[in-house]
Amino acid sequence: MSAVFDAVIIGAGPAGMAAAITLADHDARVLVLDEQAGPGGQIYRGVEEMSLTMPELFAALGPDYAHGDELAARFRNCGAEYRARAMVWQVIPGEEAHEVWVSQGGRSSRVLARSVLVATGAMERPVPVPGWTLPGAMTAGAIQVLLKSAGVVAEDLVIAGAGPLVYLLAAQCLAAGARPMAVLDTTPRGNLTAALPLLPGALRGKGPGYLAKGIGLKLALRREGVPVFSFVTDIALKGTSEVTDIAFKSRGRPLWLSAGVVALHEGVIPAQQMTRALGCAHEWDDVQRCFRPRTDGFGNSSVEGVLVAGDGGGIGGARAAEHEGRIAAAEMLRRAGKLDDAARDRLAAPERRGLAQHLAIRPFLDRLYAPPAWVRAPADEVMICRCEEVTAGAIRAAASAGAQGPNQAKSFLRTGMGACQGRMCGPVVSEIMAAAHGISVEQAGYYRIRPPLKPITVGELAEAELD
């Protein structure tokens, strides 16, 4: 039996890297497992390689991305054990230690951990509109991944959606010399008025910096003459075997653009697959309209020894994620017996102050970019479960026929039983079931998630090594 790690961290994004650095600084035995080829998570995707091989593009992506390179360098040198291309497919909570099952290079093995930090970050909210399953329909994040990890850009791109990422992506494409054809801003008119009273709060802490960045991005688009359509609704992607056009309304006026690639984006939500499978209690955020695992001030979930940091615990952004990672690290050091309560609190105190600075803008942003109603109540003909090809209308019919919640919809229709294991349809199915029964989404609940969290072959399972 191999030794038990003081902490196993799942995910090498900002939260995971920051936590690992703090743990290693205090001589904890720490292991970081991450699915990607290099550290950085999605926000700093490909950052190490790009800074070396494509310095011009690296510079064009700006100082926020460059920060990720510094963080990754500190992480590489911190003394934490790091395994890249390592996919965690099950975590089993235990009394003495938690079991973490990980697949690497086609072989699975088990590691043991006193504490597990889930730092698996966010995913983009599904944007179910007509035609969103056609080749050429992608997320804004997908376009960013292509740019950051492969230096590949879209030539005939329309960006449609709401949230900071819409304008960031447009500006990054411009900086890379790939001019988007248009930006379709879906922020509803009502969001502006609802967010305005929260603006004073957004002027505290690091808020002004975020606001200035956002305004700068919008001005850059105007300067470059990229057409921006406001108050966009009724998006439909057109094409028979791939996207060729996008139809929409702007300020109620019907419009039509040719586009081979459409990036859709309606904000990001915590990736709940792992915390759900672990049995962590989740709560519903009615403004951001997403579930998030319930945590205390140190990142502890409802499952003993399982902590959550970063956007996986609620959306706060990359810099907030670092502070949360270090706060969780302080708690894991206490759990490992390396710090007493007072020392943990001393270590966490400056991180809490830093976190508050970065979160000051969130109530304003959350309200301004609260997803429009059509995202959570798509028309009957729109595909919701992409894997099993189940429409919103079929889910509503199942609700009428007696399906009480997402898990019964699954039994009726196979929604959530396809390859993505409900990642793509889950958030929408919960909304549809809640609306159909006139209950809250929290009451409607969410899919039960079961291992393996990602597919592994039966052969790999049979040959799994215990320790």
Binding site: E35, A37, Q42, G46, E49, T53, M54, E56, L57, R85, M123, E124, W132, T133, L134, P135, G136, A137, M138, T139, G141, A142, V145, L146, S149, A150, G151, V152, V153, A154, E155, D156, A176, G177, A178, S241, E242, G260, V261, A271, R386, C387, E388, E389, G418, A419, C420, R423, M424, K454, P455, T457
Partner: protein
């Protein structure tokens, strides 16, 4: 459609359904094929509809391909390697581990 920026990384070649495709070292199979002009990556098991990568970060499972004889692998999560064999797949994974391939005339590989 996608295009590549100026890129000093080493070029490598892999096999896509019998045709050579050039990729850059370190990128994913999905990125390499999108850059090469591929639109449809697979046909679904239910309706046979054409699909391609949606998220590029391992969430959506719409980029499933047969890679080196193993079906239903996430092309966005697999780093492309020299000489790798990649095929589109129709529907679910076949029992022998290899997916049913597309006919040549159905290919929309530009």
């Amino acid at each position: 459609m996608f295009r590549r920026l100026e890129d000093p990384r080493a070029e490598i070649e892999f096999d896509f359904e019998g045709r050579p495709v050039t990729a850059r070292e370190g990128e994913s199979v999905a990125a390499a094929l999108l850059a090469a002009g591929l639109r449809g990556f697979r046909a679904t098991a239910i309706s046979g509809a054409s699909r391609a990568p949606w998220c590029m970060m391992g969430v959506c499972f719409d980029c499933l391909m047969e890679i080196d004889g193993v079906a239903s692998r996430q092309a966005c999560m697999v780093t492309v390697t020299r000489g790798m064999h990649v095929r589109r797949q129709r529907g679910a994974k076949a029992l022998d581990g290899a997916a049913a391939p597309f006919d040549d005339e159905e290919g929309d590989f530009a």
